[in-house]
């Protein structure tokens, strides 16, 4: 069963993402900000990480940069959740090593479809 780390400071978003992905059979672990996510990631591996960009303590782009520095996350798909007006964020994300992005707002089906394409 593939595992996903979902990072977002909004509880309602986290719940929705977790619910959607769990329902599709993925194992989902949640984190409320980049620092928490990094701690969790250092302890175990995931097949995919999906993270919001704007978060307290550590934002999504910094998280991606840090994750790429961890040996077992060098090739892990890392996806950002961004809003449509953040094209500079997308660039910054890519520079930090992000695999791609999902544009907010999205609906659960779109999320699932994208995740499936990436990790099956």
């Amino acid at each position: 069963m593939a595992s996903i780390l979902a990072v977002d400071d909004s509880a309602s978003m986290r719940q929705m993402v977790a619910f959607t992905l769990k329902g599709a059979g993925y194992e989902v672990v949640e984190a409320a900000d980049g620092a928490e996510a990094l701690d969790i990631a250092k302890g175990r591996g995931f097949n995919l990480v999906i993270t919001d960009v704007n978060m307290p303590r550590m934002d999504g782009i910094s998280l991606i940069k840090e994750l790429r520095g961890l040996p077992n996350y060098r090739f892990t798909p890392l996806l950002m959740l961004t809003t449509e007006s953040g094209s500079d964020k997308k660039q910054a994300g890519k520079t930090a090593g992000a695999t791609g992005w999902i544009v907010k707002p999205f609906n659960p089906d779109q999320l699932l479809a994208t995740i499936r394409k990436v990790i099956g």
Binding site: A11, S12, M16, F19, T20, G23, N54, F75, D109, K117
Partner: protein, 692 residues
């Protein structure tokens, strides 16, 4: 949509209201001169979250409105836009509008379109007037070339060596392409180095792809969107003549050539997820009452719930131990029985305290509206006022929080309006131009004491006195202390303000404030220092459901007097008792003469033991701005009682605020001190008439 989003709505609303409060307090604290980076980022993030969530959950108008706010905030935090107090005020107003929009969405009510459009218009105007409007337009995919007839695409896909390090997989991309139509793939292995030089983490392969079928260019752009910087990409339309014999896949490639038949698409119908019950919803570890309108739900610290569960566990153990003892009881087990009962008593009391703790919330929930109130009103009045709050963490029962809000607002408005002077006036009297209102709460002696102090001009004693004389409330030759004069403002219809400004509310007078506080089982006092300021002191019981009471006996009847109202208990032997016209019997306590309330008379108790005043006891109580003495036979013990309402099955009885069940199962009535004082006044008038 196969998943019902509505189950996440409640959390979204709660979260969004919290976010709005964060925005509001952040905006209020912002000093346009020196903006704190962290602060403005926090405000931005709050707006961003609300926008994201509202869009995701389908509240599009909210998303659109918040988007404009977010854009403004984004520019401010980037430094592209100066933080002006005009902008801050506009954002504060927008927070109000947004709050109403969220409440309407949550309650299923219609949105106030006019107000929203007006507010949004203001925001947009500011947005475009100020710094460079930087609403970056997303790189829209180029228009698909209007081909005469596009039969497909020829794609040359050459990933750069670092492709894998972005977590992207060329194979996945090729599979996605295969879903769009008939795909012919030819791998190019020319870049593969010798094994010794081979870097396993680099990408060396390239592909020549032909995708047949009428696919829109956007679809291709979407597929390559993530990797466009990490590869060389050539996309050319296949026009009529270009569709020639497909190139033969080079067999040497270790990569399996994806042949003409597209691999089975990964698009199996997603299994319909089971509807999860709300048990999935995590209990929040933060504590908060239901947003805006109370009464609904409470968020409780998990620790408190765990505590309760432990206690109930202990209780069950004690109970089963006792029932075991009872099954086969003999007198030699008496000691164990007593020990068990003692334990039961202890556990029950602990459980009771813990449950009460659950309903306790910090009074900050009532105080939180004041920074904004003071900010707005002082601006409106042209005064400079600083609000200092302390003791916001003091905990009170949830019902007290709900009911104390309005009285507090009235009192603070009074200070703002009538207490603190205009800056010029303050300067003239040697005070700092900025007035201070301080709002504090603390636990003192089993009650919560709330104080509202201001350093304004204080109460005008003479004016109050004059008005009271005019209204016939006191005689011209009175010997009331200053404090007693000040207390007169709690009389109905008493307002010495030249005009009832709409700031202090229409006709809500101090008498209503006092009544509200009394209804909560508390009392209110006022102190004043002319020219220096005033203070309102409110004392409230910690909870409405339980009362600390003094049991008293009159004849065969037992009554409970709320401890919070009791000043002291005295014997009347040797004390001076005078009959005063219009006030009945009075006794002397220190420098004052206080009325005596004979409970046996008020309540028609015929078998009262004490008839002469020196045979019984006097319980000195305070209420309704005054003191009086309740004449009773005996004092019994003090105990905590659970308040039960008489109105539930009967109706309000004059002089009685409720009832309780004593340990022996009998009912004892709880006295309503302010009511009693009123009753005594009526009775006295009646007696005077009869004897006249």
């Amino acid at each position: 949509m196969s998943i019902d989003m509505a189950q996440f709505h409640q959390v979204f609303f709660e979260e969004s209201f919290e976010g709005l409060e964060l925005m509001e307090s952040g905006l209020l604290n912002m000093d346009p001169g020196s903006v704190d980076d962290d602060e403005i980022n926090a405000i931005f993030r709050a707006a961003h979250s609300i926008k994201g969530g509202s869009g995701t959950f389908g509240f599009n108008e909210i998303a659109a409105f918040t988007h404009v706010m977010e854009t403004l905030l984004d520019e401010m935090r980037d430094g592209r836009r100066p933080v002006t107090s005009e902008a801050v005020d506009l954002l504060l107003q927008s927070v109000d509008v947004l709050r109403d929009m969220l409440a309407a969405a949550r309650d299923g009510e219609a949105l106030d379109q006019e107000r929203i459009e007006a507010a949004q218009g203001e925001l947009e105007r500011l947005l475009h007037a100020g710094a460079q409007a930087s609403v970056p337009v997303d790189t829209a995919s180029p228009e698909a070339a209007a081909e005469a007839r596009c039969l497909g695409w020829h794609i040359v896909f050459r990933p750069l060596p670092q492709m894998f390090r972005t977590g992207n997989d060329p194979l996945r991309i090729i599979r996605e392409l295969a879903e769009l139509g008939e795909l012919r793939v030819e791998a190019d292995l020319s870049a593969l180095p010798a094994l010794a030089a081979y870097e396993p983490e680099d990408s060396y392969l390239s592909w020549d792809l032909r995708l047949l079928g009428e696919t829109a260019r956007e679809a291709l752009d979407d597929i390559f969107a993530w990797v466009e910087d990490d590869c060389e990409l050539l996309v050319m339309p296949l026009l009529e003549e270009a569709v020639s014999a497909p190139p033969v896949a080079a067999p040497v490639a270790p990569e399996p050539a994806v042949g003409a038949a597209a691999a089975p698409p990964l698009q199996a119908a997603p299994p319909v997820p089971e509807r999860r019950s709300s048990g999935d919803r995590r209990k929040s570890e933060r504590r908060k009452a239901a947003a805006s309108g109370g009464g609904g739900s409470i968020r409780v610290d998990i620790g408190k719930i765990d505590n309760l569960i432990n206690m109930v566990g202990e209780l069950v153990i004690t109970q089963s131990m006792l029932s075991l003892l009872g099954e086969d009881f003999s007198m030699d087990k008496l000691e164990r029985l007593n020990a068990g009962l003692e334990q039961l008593d202890r556990h029950t009391r602990e459980l009771q305290e813990s449950i009460m703790q659950v309903r306790m919330l910090p009074i900050s929930f009532s105080f939180s509206r004041f920074p904004r109130l003071v900010h707005d009103l002082s601006a409106k009045l042209g005064k400079q006022i600083e609000l200092r709050m302390s003791g916001e963490n003091t905990e009170v029962d949830k019902t007290v929080i709900e009911k104390i809000g309005d009285p507090l607002v009235h009192l603070v408005r009074n200070s703002l309006d009538h207490g603190i002077e205009m800056p010029a006036e303050r300067r003239a009297s040697g005070k700092p131009e900025c007035g201070v209102i301080s709002l504090s709460a603390e636990h003192k002696g089993g009650n919560i004491v709330i104080e509202i102090r201001d350093d304004g001009k204080g109460l005008d004693r003479d004016r109050i006195e004059r008005k009271a004389i005019d209204k016939g409330l006191i005689e011209a030759q009175h010997n009331l202390s200053d404090k007693q004069i000040y207390e007169l403002i709690f009389q109905p219809g008493f307002s010495t303000a030249e005009q009832v400004s709409d700031v202090s509310g229409r006709g809500v007078g101090m008498d209503v404030v006092r009544k509200n506080i009394n209804d909560l089982g508390g009392n209110i006092e006022i102190e004043s220092d002319p020219g220096q300021g005033s203070a309102i002191i409110i004392r409230l019981p910690l909870t409405l459901a339980i009362l600390d009471g003094q049991t008293v006996r009159v004849g065969d009847e037992t009554y409970i007097v709320p401890l919070v109202s009791i000043v002291e208990s005295i014997q009347l032997k040797g004390r001076q008792v005078k009959r005063v016209a219009g006030r009945g019997e009075t006794f002397k306590l220190r420098e004052e003469y206080l009325p005596i309330l004979r409970l046996h008379q008020l309540f028609g108790i015929e078998d009262a033991r004490a008839r002469e005043l020196d045979e019984g006891l006097l319980v000195v109580v305070e209420g309704e701005g005054g003191h009086c003495g309740l004449f009773v036979d005996d004092l019994l013990g003090q105990q905590q009682v659970v308040i039960k309402s008489l109105e539930a099955n009967y109706q309000k009885v004059p002089g009685i605020s409720g009832a309780t069940i004593l340990g022996d199962g009998s009912v004892a009535l709880i006295l309503d001190v302010p009511d009693l004082m009123r009753l005594a006044g009526q009775l006295d008038a009646q007696q005077l008439r009869q004897s006249a």
